[in-house]
């Protein structure tokens, strides 16, 4: 049997299907890896309850772990509810470099770093983001909502 750490490492290689700059572990979707009855139990949690990417993430986990002949099961857990507080500073930096303003209280343009920005809509290309416009460089951009 491979170690738990090895499982975490494999999971860390799986990119978020909508934001490939970060992994599903960095996003905070993978909550736990336990060993139950000689099997790995991977617990995942949805970012938003209707997020269509969750099924895709589940499929990606299945694909990755099956490649290594690992006996596992995936469980969805709702509590504690997913929060952007689980993202590390490193993950937030990756998002910013990718062109998405990370979930921080003060919203800055990921392009020119100006904080002279304007909210266009609470909702954007995915449920977890809102839409902003930068008044300095005039570029529109996505902001990861703090929830």
């Amino acid at each position: 049997m491979v170690t738990k750490e090895a499982i975490w490492n494999l999971l860390s290689e799986i990119p978020d299907p909508e934001i490939p700059a970060i992994s599903i572990v960095e996003l905070g979707v993978v909550r736990k890896v336990d060993i139950v009855d000689n099997k790995y139990l991977v617990s995942i949690t949805p970012t938003y309850s209707g997020c269509p990417a969750l099924n895709r993430m589940e499929d990606d986990i299945k694909k990755e772990l099956s490649k290594h002949d690992i006996d596992f099961e995936i469980k969805t857990q709702l509590y504690p509810p997913w929060t952007t507080d689980w993202m590390s500073q490193e993950t937030k930096d990756k998002l910013e470099n990718f062109g998405i303003s990370p979930p921080t209280k003060i919203v800055k343009c990921p392009q020119c770093k100006s904080s002279d920005v304007e909210l266009i809509s609470f909702f954007a290309s995915t449920a977890c983001k809102s839409m902003y416009k930068c008044n300095s460089c005039l570029e529109p951009f996505d902001h990861f909502k703090c929830i």
Partner: protein
């Protein structure tokens, strides 16, 4: 399909209201007044469907897996749907859609904040998850009520008409009946009739700020929680359920 316990009956009400709300809003996908709003409405619809899914999963668990989530959604008829009458009303124009989301999300904010204290861990988890989403539905729709009410002559007339038209469906939200009694004594839920004061205050304040008038002396319609619906629901279910009923083994 009948629900045998009060717990299942209560969860079915919440699940059905979210499903019908989400299905109704999804009719507007690609028909929004402009791109950003189209995306907003689709996102809100998705949240409602997601919340409905969590509640149907809980229903499945309560029913020991006898029925699947798809069974609940596609194989129940109108009289076995227990959603609020408000949510099955058609989208109408944009103002009416926003008025509906506003009236419903104001109630949901209160509901979920109460349920987040539930002694039932599943309900608590669903409530804590959902309330984060509902806060955005509320902020978004409230902003539109203010903008349309305090907007042009035409927008003011239209949003006022929408509030007037939907008002008769709001009384039912706060009706408590025998289904709730045991669940309340076990601290699983709180009574629907205790939500009214807070809801009324938020709605009143918003209408005032939007320069709109609160409807008075309205006769309230009721029945959704007992499976008695307006003529709108049947058409919607017929469309939604057609495919899985006609082709039972159809796969995506």
């Amino acid at each position: 399909m009948n629900f045998s316990t009060d717990f299942e009956k209560y969860i079915a009400r919440l699940a059905d209201s979210n499903l019908i709300m989400g299905q109704r809003l999804s009719e507007l996908c690609s028909k929004g007044p402009y791109l950003e709003e189209d995306i907003a409405i689709s996102n809100i619809a998705l949240d409602y469907l997601g919340q409905a899914n969590m509640l149907y999963e809980l229903l499945k668990k309560a029913g020991n897996g006898k029925y699947s989530v798809d069974d609940y959604v596609f194989h129940r008829n109108e009289r076995n749907y227990y959603n609020l009458l408000l949510v099955e009303q058609d989208n109408g124009h944009f103002g009416k859609t926003m008025a509906k989301i506003f009236l419903y999300s104001t109630y949901q904010k209160i509901l979920y904040s109460q349920l987040s204290k539930s002694t039932n861990d599943d309900i608590k988890a669903i409530a804590l998850k959902s309330i984060k989403e509902v806060n955005y539905h509320f902020k978004h729709s409230r902003a539109w009520v203010l903008r349309l009410g305090d907007g042009t002559k035409e927008s003011k007339v239209k949003i006022q008409e929408s509030i007037d038209e939907l008002w008769r469906f709001t009384g039912e939200i706060f009706e408590s009946d025998y289904v709730e009694n045991n669940l309340i004594s076990e601290n699983i839920i709180t009574a629907s009739n205790t939500y009214y004061d807070e809801w009324s205050k938020i709605v009143k304040d918003t209408l005032l700020e939007a320069l709109l008038t609160e409807p008075e002396n309205v006769v309230m319609l009721t029945g959704g929680k007992k499976g008695l619906h307006t003529e709108k629901l049947g058409f919607m279910l017929a469309e939604m359920q057609y495919l899985p009923r006609t082709y039972p083994n159809a796969k995506w």
